[in-house]
Symmetry: C2
Subunit: 254 residues, 2 copies
């Protein structure tokens, strides 16, 4: 049985806690949270603490807190024998204490409170400094996911940046689409099957081949009409820049 | 049995042809295509023609050709008794011949050759000038889809513009994400579960609530690091503009 202490009380911490407690092979023995209130989610299940000097001995310390705080919190664990692991996409492993066993376990997904996700499908990107720690992280990751993969800090950083485009910016596109629908008294829900198919399509075709629309076929008439339709200046700028980028991608000009 | 002539041989025409021929209640009696070669897909099934003066009498003429050509082709049908219908999102109904029965049947989806879609889920947006023609289009649309909805030309135009953001621009975000992965020797496929969840999430939460990421929480450190990571100038511009737009949406500043 691999013992784990989770440090953090946010969405990633909660989702990891739920995933690990639903499995055998690992045991969460403690959760640390700066604020006692934030610990209420975990209190009924196990030992919690708000005191960093009270952290128990464990095989793995899983730091799931905001990027800015990882370095400071990890220093409190420097005297422990267990493996110190953070869960951030954009932070390199070497921010953790030198001369200590350290690693990364980064679940690549967007976590929202009160929304269940299927952890089995979520890629868990792991990094460590030696074979034994890789094996430990692989064993731990495999209890909750079918896709555990080794990535170094540079690859993980690239993946995190790519995820901003594939998730954050994509979601903002949905937001603008909804604004346009609301302003024109048209149900946004009509776009759901299109949004679903757009996401599904690129699992079979590359996004390069899957691209459609007026910019891709350099249909200047429709591009002009759309710009006239858009009332919001920021939306106009986004429409223009992204259309230019698509035109350039396909080696086309207006 | 409602008889239909399809004018057009592209992806929309083919997908509509496949959907209607799989149903009872409608019969495709002819397909028109400018180029005889493009008609080969339909030839084994029914009468085809490349001559606009040879179009048969039918209850409905379904024009599924490029936007620019709709007006010209529809003029050849002005003497017919049947309902003339185009299938375009961005073109108003009144581009079709005046003093003729006319309407629109717009299936809101992205159609790719050789890729099956479940038509039952695709919203079919219909428009007509009188109750009888609305009923006819509703009957025809309902044979292939569970979601037939009345939208006027302005609403349809707005929906088409919103679809550019939700589909074309979203797909371009996937493309950039893939470029970043490829440049950094990281498998793009790792993003598939994230992309799927991003699309699924907004069916339960609004995109406004679903938004996550550095811009949304005005995390200037990560935003700066990402801009340093991006080598492509166009990607930098897109990252900056979309992050600004997200910051503004959440009333935040750096």
């Amino acid at each position: 049985m691999i013992s784990i202490v989770i440090l953090g009380t946010g969405n990633v911490a909660k989702h990891l806690f739920d995933a690990f407690t639903a499995q055998i092979g690992t045991e969460i023995i403690q959760v640390y949270g700066r604020s006692p209130n934030a610990l209420s989610y975990f209190k009924n299940h196990l030992n919690t603490t708000s005191d960093l000097s009270n952290i128990k001995e464990a095989d793995i310390y899983l730091i799931a807190i905001s990027d800015d705080a990882i370095s400071a919190v990890s220093k409190f664990l420097a005297a422990k024998k267990g493996l110190i692991v953070h869960t951030s996409g954009s932070i390199p492993m070497n921010i953790l204490p030198h001369k200590h066993r350290r690693g990364v376990l980064y679940p690549l997904q967007t976590f929202t409170a009160d929304r269940k996700v299927d952890f089995k499908e979520i890629p868990i990107c792991i990094e460590a400094e030696n074979k034994e720690d890789y094996e430990l992280l692989n064993e731990v990751g495999s209890t909750i996911s079918d896709k555990v993969i080794q990535l170094d800090s540079d690859q993980r950083k690239a993946l995190h940046l790519a995820a901003v485009f594939a998730n954050n910016f994509t979601n903002h596109m949905y937001h603008i689409a909804q604004e346009i629908c609301v302003q024109n008294d048209t149900p946004f829900e009509l776009l759901f099957p299109l949004i679903k198919e757009t996401a599904a399509k690129i699992q079979d075709l590359t996004p390069f081949i899957a691209q459609t629309g007026p910019a891709c076929r350099s249909d200047s008439g429709t591009l002009e009409k759309h710009l006239t339709q858009l009332k919001n200046k920021k939306h106009k700028k986004i429409y223009t820049l992204l259309s230019e980028s698509i035109l350039k991608t396909y080696g086309k000009k207006l």
